[in-house]
Symmetry: C2
Subunit: 390 residues, 2 copies
């Protein structure tokens, strides 16, 4: 009989967010303040749902029917992305790949590279980066500590590395790389001949000119970086599923292979494309009315993050992030562990948050709050928290 | 710099269907009779598009908004599948996993198993089975010849094998396994402790009671088989994207691991779920009005397959399949090679078909016609073909 790929046994039993669901399952869900998983809570603007319905109705007529779409995504969407997100940046529509979500894309892309590659990830980090590399049998993983003393920004790796995962604005810490910070990493990758996986899932939350939205704003990044973007957080597509990645044609492996070419081969074999009506919904995000509607929602989330951040500070918590990000990284009090603080929040304040240690060892002593919640939930959470004595 | 995963260099340059697109690109597309890639051509029934639009509109209201869905798919759809497709078969909703397409599911599932596993595939076969195993570094691939003399049904492997890919009704040959044929394989898998990947993408085309729709109709198959199904061909979802797989909890690896448990871990890490409105569209396929509408479309495709099959026979071609399948497997005349016949059909008869040799060595000398075309296209194709002198 077939044997298991033993690399799978090296994973934790459960994916982090399911462990949290399990623990929360003992409470009445409706009375809990969910500041846990980063899922959207504001309705999707009508301008977007209309675009999806209108595209769906095209399929009920033979003359406008569409079957299999291009595995790379429809040109209309790739052009809209290029024209709106990569103005004055040397990225062409042919370097954009539309997909079903960053999780799927970023966890599969590593398959293209040699199994003995050295990988650098931040600690704490989004668990998918590490888990997908463990599943692929990679053992050479360098964890880059992101600590209070370095402002939660990683320091450059000590060893030679081949693949570097960077997420900015960061999940879970909410901290964003400035242009200067990011340039240091692009220069390092060039010098080291390393490839950066740049996860920009939260770029819509950036509020300062000093923080780049795209890694390609840094000169030369198109020789060393692949960028991931999503409609999940910017447009509420967590349940609709649409994302994209940017893979410049200039990218070559050390052994001289075009990464673009092999990635195309990879998706042609392993990927059936993204739902057509959903791609039309994503396209609508770039029209004037689409942009306005999304901006209204983003502003509500931003206000929520501000309220949560300031509320926590007024309760004497030390907090980070929450400015360019929907996430607030909060230090526990009295050196309480992340999971103890999680249990306390759940039992005494009816709050779900995500224990920092779930994102890596260096996350111990912290908890992640998500501001994807309505104002009332955040207010209730802060009121409940005020009553908790530590 | 990161090096390429060298297993990728063992693949053909282009995925088969893109090579065909390239060759067809020199012709005016509108005047070609496309009997090539198996893509639907009939409009999607309104009852389905309505379900998708109605679910989409739920998302524009906060009280009916849904964000991230369960990675395994919504219970409403898994229950509908179980109640309609697995009546009197010991499969529970918890053993069903909703996904974006069989291609993605079947190409990823092999990741769960040991890299040195022995794989058996039919020759000819759907290229994704082989390519995904090559990408994973598997070198022990046994090709099972499916030839005219064995009715295009594979004979049992000579060596010990761990993973067996079976597609019935078959792509590309259009031939279906009877209950007796399939039982032989289930028994073999049991004896050998092998795991069967059973691709049932075309089960909706089965017209005889003698041909099982599900491998689990064979007693004991739930100990040795994973089944893949899709809404692509049965309901026209090629552009909408929805499929599912059935993974019984009884399945264990030789080393005693629960495949269900590790697959759940796999998708939790690597998969963000299927679009909610599309899952509602799929659910609607199982209502009375949904079933009727789909049956109408299927009957049109079936008539097309019959017309094409009979037309080819009347032109003295030797054909197989086309009864339980939208595909007709046609022998070339005068021992012409598959690609020569492809070029001839393209240049002299304005027909696109798929060269049999593209599906494997044993496909040489054959061509695959798809009956996913309207009646007029099939008529024109047959008329054009009649004029071709060989």
């Amino acid at each position: 009989m077939v044997k298991l790929n033993k690399d799978y046994t090296k994973l934790d039993e459960d994916y982090l967010f399911f462990e949290i669901e399990k623990r929360a399952a003992f409470f009445v869900k409706k009375s809990l303040c969910n500041l846990g998983i980063g899922d959207i809570t504001l309705a999707i603007p009508e301008v977007i749902t209309e675009a999806i319905c209108s595209a769906t109705k095209e399929l009920q007529e033979e003359k406008t029917l569409r079957g299999y779409g291009p595995s790379q995504g429809y040109l209309f969407l790739r052009e809209a992305i290029q024209k709106n997100e990569y103005i004055n940046i040397p990225i062409t529509e042919d370097e954009i790949f539309v997909q079903n979500g960053i999780k799927n894309a970023i966890s599969s892309l590593q398959d293209l590279f040699c199994k003995t590659s050295y990988v650098a990830v931040c600690d704490p980090t989004y668990p998918v980066y590490v888990d997908s590399n463990v599943m692929a049998g990679r053992e050479n993983i360098e964890y880059l500590p992101c600590l209070e003393e370095n402002g939660f920004l990683p320091t450059l790796p000590q060893k030679n590395v081949d693949l570097i995962y960077i997420c900015s604005p960061n999940n879970p810490t909410g901290v964003a790389f400035t242009r200067k910070d990011l340039k240091k990493w692009v220069d390092f990758a060039k010098k080291q001949n390393a490839l950066i996986f740049f996860d920009g899932a939260y770029e819509a939350f950036i509020t300062s000119d000093d923080v780049p939205h795209s890694i390609y704003e840094i000169p030369g990044a198109d020789e060393v970086a692949i960028e991931f973007r999503s409609f999940s957080k910017s447009a509420g597509f967590t349940g609709l599923r649409c994302s994209y990645l940017v893979l410049p044609k200039k990218l070559k492996t050390e052994d001289g292979f075009s990464i673009h070419k092999f990635y195309k081969r990879h998706i042609d074999t392993k990927y059936g494309g993204t739902s057509y009506p959903i791609q039309r919904g994503a396209e609508r995000c770039f029209t004037e009315d689409g942009k306005k509607a999304l901006e209204r929602n983003l502003n509500i989330y931003r206000s929520g993050a501000k309220m949560l951040r300031e509320g926590l500070i007024s309760l004497d918590y030390k907090v980070f992030g929450g400015t360019h990000s929907p996430y607030i990284w909060c230090k526990t009090k009295n050196e309480m562990s992340s999971w103890d603080f999680f249990d306390l929040l759940l039992k005494k304040a009816q709050i779900i948050a995500i224990p920092g240690s779930g994102f890596g060892r260096c996350g111990e002593g912290f908890i992640r709050f998500s501001a994807f919640a309505n104002q009332k939930t955040i207010e209730t959470a802060l009121n409940n928290l005020e009553k908790v004595t530590l």
